[in-house]
Structures are given as structure tokens and as C-alpha cells.
Amino acid sequence: MELTKSYQKSSSMVARRVADEVILVPIKQNVGDLQSIYTLNEVGARIWELLDNGGTVADMISSVAEEYEVEQPKAQADLVDFLAQLESIGAIASI
């Protein structure tokens, strides 16, 4: 994954903040299926928020590393994997 890439949230995903988590309901073939949803934990929810800033992957890595006090390579590995997961379920797309 290129670190200079930016991602945006898909309009075919309904999101709800519930306490510290975020619930994602994909709209597939015009059906919102509550039997098949995704949950992002607290850190995932924070990254979901960061996507609104429109920054690059590198920007998000810096934010995560700083906020959660983890080393840059660790933050990068986790974030890149996580973004790939979000992309694979159609929650985000590269700009």
C-alpha cells in the first residue's frame, strides 16, 4: 500500500457510533443486511474518524503512532492491514 494514498469512506456503508465502537452496515445490491454487519473497536473507530480528514496513509500513521504511543513501524503495519481490511469489505476506496 502506498503511503501517499488517500482513502474516502464509501457511500454504500451506513455507520453508527455506539459507545467506543463503530458499527458498519454495508449496502449490497441495495440491501442493508443487519445479519451481516461489521464492528470496529475503539482504535478502529478512531481510524474511521481520521478518514474524514482526507489525509494520506502516512498522515494517519503519524496520528495513530502519536495518539497511542506506539512506534511508527508498528503503527504502519497495523494501519496498513486495517485499511486493507476496510477496503476489502468495501468500506473505503482510494481517491
Binding site: G32, L34, I37, V70, D78
Partner: protein
């Protein structure tokens, strides 16, 4: 706030080395973003379900979820999965299974018994197939759609087409009155419809 953490099995997709800066074993995953899969249930996650249902149907998409309760049994049994099509109150036909939100309460899927105008505005009357009493009046702003597909234990039933509408109306008339005989007829018709209809569901 409602938390779904208790009903969704946590499945970390990838692992990280323990965070040695912390002595707490439980903090290993604290800084790990995790994506898990699960479901939202009407009963357990009431307000979340209400909000998502209104949002999804409000944007013109269909809603699929697991229904709870026996008020529509045996047509819709407890834990059957239903598909709701977004529809306005004015578009509904007598016999349709209306999906609406009770005033200050939860969502309900009950059969439309009658439509009437009250000073120019539409008023709907609904009832659960398995209930003796009518529901409180339903107003257009409460209506979100109608059930068009039921995924039961023994197959799926499509009730959204023209034939489905006719059979829906027939089933409504069969169940009027709530007498023992009518109840037998209603259950018989429901069973017959499921036996034939599930082949095309």
C-alpha cells in the same frame, strides 16, 4: 448507550507483539485496530436497530433482519429473517405486512387491515395474524415499508408480487373475527402457501 461487544465474538484479524511498555496483559490489543463481523438484533440492540432501520429504508434501500415474536405466526415465525421494501403508506395494499414504528416504541411488522382518510390524512389499521385485537392507529409518518420476503426454517417465501398481494388479502379475510374456525382456516392457508410458495421464494 448500547454495546454490541457482548454479542459479537471478537476475532482479531492480525496479531501484534505485546506492548512491553505496559505490564497489563489485557492491554496487548489496546492499540490494535480490529474489525469484527456480527449482526444487529432488534431486541438486544433496540435503539441501534431503530436508528439503522430508519436510515437504511429512508435512503431507499431494502432492510434484512431477524424478526422476533409470534404475533404473525405461523406466517412469520419467531427468528425468521425478513426483507423489508421501502414503501410509503399511500402505496400499501390491504393485506400487506406493514413495517412501521410504534409511537415512542419499537418497530413492528403487522398486516394492513384497512386504510381510511381522517380529515384528509391517511390512517392505517394493522393487526398481527396471531392476535385478536387491532393495533393502535398507524399514521403515514410511522410507516417505513412492507415485508416482501420471509426466510423461514424450511425455505423462503416471496410475498411482494401481485400473486403475493392477492394471497395476503385472502389470508387477511380468512383471519378476520378470530373465531376458532377462522383460526384453523388461517393456519391451513398459511401452511399451504408456504408449501407451494417456498419453491419460488
Amino acid at each position: 448507550m448500547v454495546s454490541v461487544a457482548d454479542v459479537i465474538k471478537k476475532m482479531p484479524i492480525f496479531k501484534v507483539e505485546p506492548n512491553f511498555e505496559s505490564n497489563a496483559v489485557g492491554s496487548v490489543f489496546d492499540s490494535l485496530p480490529v474489525l469484527t463481523s456480527g449482526h444487529v438484533e432488534q431486541i438486544k440492540h433496540g435503539s441501534l436497530f431503530d436508528s439503522l432501520a430508519a436510515d437504511i429504508l429512508g435512503r431507499g434501500s431494502y432492510l434484512r433482519f431477524r424478526a422476533h415474536g409470534n404475533s404473525m405466526a405461523p406466517f412469520i415465525r419467531n427468528s425468521d429473517v425478513v426483507l423489508v421494501e421501502p414503501r410509503k403508506a399511500s402505496e400499501l395494499r390491504i393485506g400487506d405486512i406493514v413495517f412501521y414504528r410504534r409511537t415512542g416504541g419499537r418497530h413492528v411488522a403487522h398486516r394492513l387491515v384497512s386504510k381510511s382518510g381522517n380529515g384528509g390524512s391517511l390512517v392505517l389499521t394493522t393487526r398481527g395474524d396471531n392476535l385478536k385485537h387491532l393495533d393502535a392507529s398507524v399514521f403515514p409518518e410511522q410507516v417505513l415499508g412492507r415485508v416482501v420476503r420471509i426466510e423461514g426454517r424450511n425455505g423462503n417465501l416471496w410475498v411482494g408480487g401481485r400473486i403475493g398481494s392477492t394471497l395476503n388479502r385472502l389470508l387477511l379475510y380468512a383471519s378476520f373475527g378470530g373465531s376458532y374456525t377462522r383460526d384453523i382456516v388461517r393456519r391451513g392457508l398459511t401452511r399451504l402457501w408456504w408449501l407451494v410458495g417456498r419453491r419460488f421464494g
